[in-house]
Symmetry: none
Subunit: 210 residues, 4 copies
DNA sequence: CATGAATGAGGCTTCATTCAT
DNA sequence: TATGAATGAAGCCTCATTCAT
């Protein structure tokens, strides 16, 4: 029984490779310079290609940026799903979400910037691209909210608004990434994640529930 | 008892008035259009002056933006201090911090944008202006951290890292502002602030401390 | 009795001067390089200003080009009207039309190019600007057609389709301009105009009417 | 009597076939989009080959365009010669010239565009290609001028400058093509050609010769 | 021969900044 | 001081041309 030839020509493979290469470059440049300062020229330089080549793979700047972010979200979601699948118990799963986000964002700084800059806050809903971007962020938040909701039904969390809680948790994750960026990567990440989760789970108040 | 005439010439008063006027205009334009889209032309229009005049009061765009943000922080700090002074008990003080930040940011969207966009996260210390900006954010976080620390000594909070806790709390505040912006201002702000504080103080875990 | 102050500020005069200056430069560059090769950069150079300045007076390239042509037509119409007004008899008036067009086009080569290149032939009726351009050409042809029609009613011309005759006459004018451009301006223009009119009026056939 | 096998290899035949194929594609694209908008990419698409292939047959864009026009002229000359050969009398021959030009130009709009845009009118003799182009136009005009001259010697035309008359006649032809393009092809072409020839032969003046 | 991905010069446009008035 | 016309660097994008496959 012969293995069927993969349904991809060599050209398609090359094309996908280039596409990914550009997306990675875009993410890195956005990460370094911020959304506003990232230029096509610099992205091309970073990718080791010429300006014009980018336009063979992406319609324009906005499309490239939207895809770069989307690509980042896809990878983050993949990592996150894998990590949560391995974890037993919803509390552990939530912990894995936080750890994945931090780890991933340190690798791909640009991804972090999306969480931080929220380009969707510009003149509301300008383009289809920014709509899709917003949808990506929403999906990610929803994923965490679902986790919290299932955990609540399983008796692990108390009855809090899962959406708001998810957003707050992810905002907490952001503070860790902030700190990592400011101070430079160091080995205390896990500790900070633990503190965040401790705070998220048990609160800051002394003694019992207020 | 007469108040001594301030040792300021009329020119200085006018100068300060103009400065403030421009700063407010800058904050409003940044708020409406975002950091990247805010142009000197529009700021001048909003301030009712001409482009060139701005350069009599500010060195360049970056300096103007940095001062606009700084100005925002000063106002926020003032409001926050007043609010916390009135409150009794550190838990109540923390609550006032959150409420002040949300209220202020809804009034001055631009201020929120700084928290969100964090232009100072670029290549560390790109410019003197961005250094001062960072310092402002730090001061604000420090203020909240001090509050938490004193609260801890007063037995109201358990022994958590006050800096990290402050950052996480403020990140939570941001999520509320996000939501307000996305859904449009509505009267549930107080409710969301309460939920945030409940979560911050008591955590998400069911039952007692984990 | 005091002369009323002209209803124009100095700024308006300067503005109009610059506008005209740019329009002339545009017409000259279009004349030298053709429609397709004329760039904003070269027009700016020719006008002795910088690229950016053009955009203070014209929205974009298309608007500039459309106005440049329109401006040319306005001048041509003015000259033509003045010349025909002076002439007695419709035959003489037609002669003046031809002479005006040739003279004017040699002064403003770019204007000729419009007649020659017919940018309105591109992907039909693409823009408002090209619509207005077409309208200008039509107006000019109509003016000549009216002249021919009145001349016919006055018994000076026989009953030919005035529109087609007008177009043909103007096409004949073009050939003279062509020749002038190719050979360089020389003093035979009047002779060529006379030959054109002789042919237009009396035809090429030997003997009487065929 | 056998026709001797042409001394051409198969390769040469293929080469000529490709060349012609590209020239036709170029003419059609120029006809549809205009001189400025015609890109190598679209010509390649229309010819069913790839961009790079064009460069195996033509040095560059200008050379291709020049050859495309030249090719058009060759075809027009061929058609015109055939048509005039059939006609009896010089007046009839001239009539056939006009009809051929109109018919041909409606079939190959691009050809007309050259007559209209006259890229060779730029700074005299910019390139070898534009020189050859000019020569083509001249040849065509010369052919018509010769016809008129012979007609004059045969007593059919009166003694007018044959060159200028030829240019004027051809310019008149252009106006018909213009009109056809603007209004869309319709069956009145012959009528317009007749009117043109009537005007060309008999003139516009009422009564006898002026 | 043929391809089409890659290049990079060049075109249009914006906008922070300067400077003569 | 205040103005705003002018500047020109820099950004996005197109397309003629090249070249490795």
């Amino acid at each position: 029984m012969s293995i069927p030839r993969p349904a991809r020509t060599k050209e398609e493979v090359v094309k996908e490779f280039r596409t990914t290469e550009i997306l990675e470059a875009a993410r890195r440049v956005i990460g370094e310079l911020g959304y506003g300062e990232a230029s096509m020229e610099r992205i091309a330089q970073k990718a080791g290609i010429s300006k014009g080549t980018i336009y063979l793979y992406f319609e324009n700047k906005e499309a490239l940026f939207a895809r770069a972010i989307e690509h980042g979200f896809e990878q983050l979601m993949e990592k996150t799903r894998a990590a949560t699948r391995r974890a037993r118990g919803h509390t552990a799963k939530v912990s894995e979400v936080a750890r994945s986000a931090v780890e991933y964002s340190l690798d791909y700084l640009s991804f972090y910037r999306v969480l931080a800059e929220r380009p969707d806050l510009g003149p509301a809903g300008r383009s289809a691209a920014s709509d899709r971007l917003r949808a990506n962020v929403d999906d990610y938040v929803q994923y965490v909210a679902d986790l919290l909701e299932r955990g609540t039904r399983a008796g692990e969390f108390r009855g809090i608004n899962p959406h708001q809680a998810a957003r707050i948790l992810l905002a907490g994750v952001r503070t860790i990434i902030d700190e990592q960026i400011r101070e430079g990567k160091h080995p205390l990440v896990q500790e900070e994640v633990d503190t965040l989760l401790d705070l998220f789970l048990n609160g800051a108040a002394a003694g019992g529930r207020s």
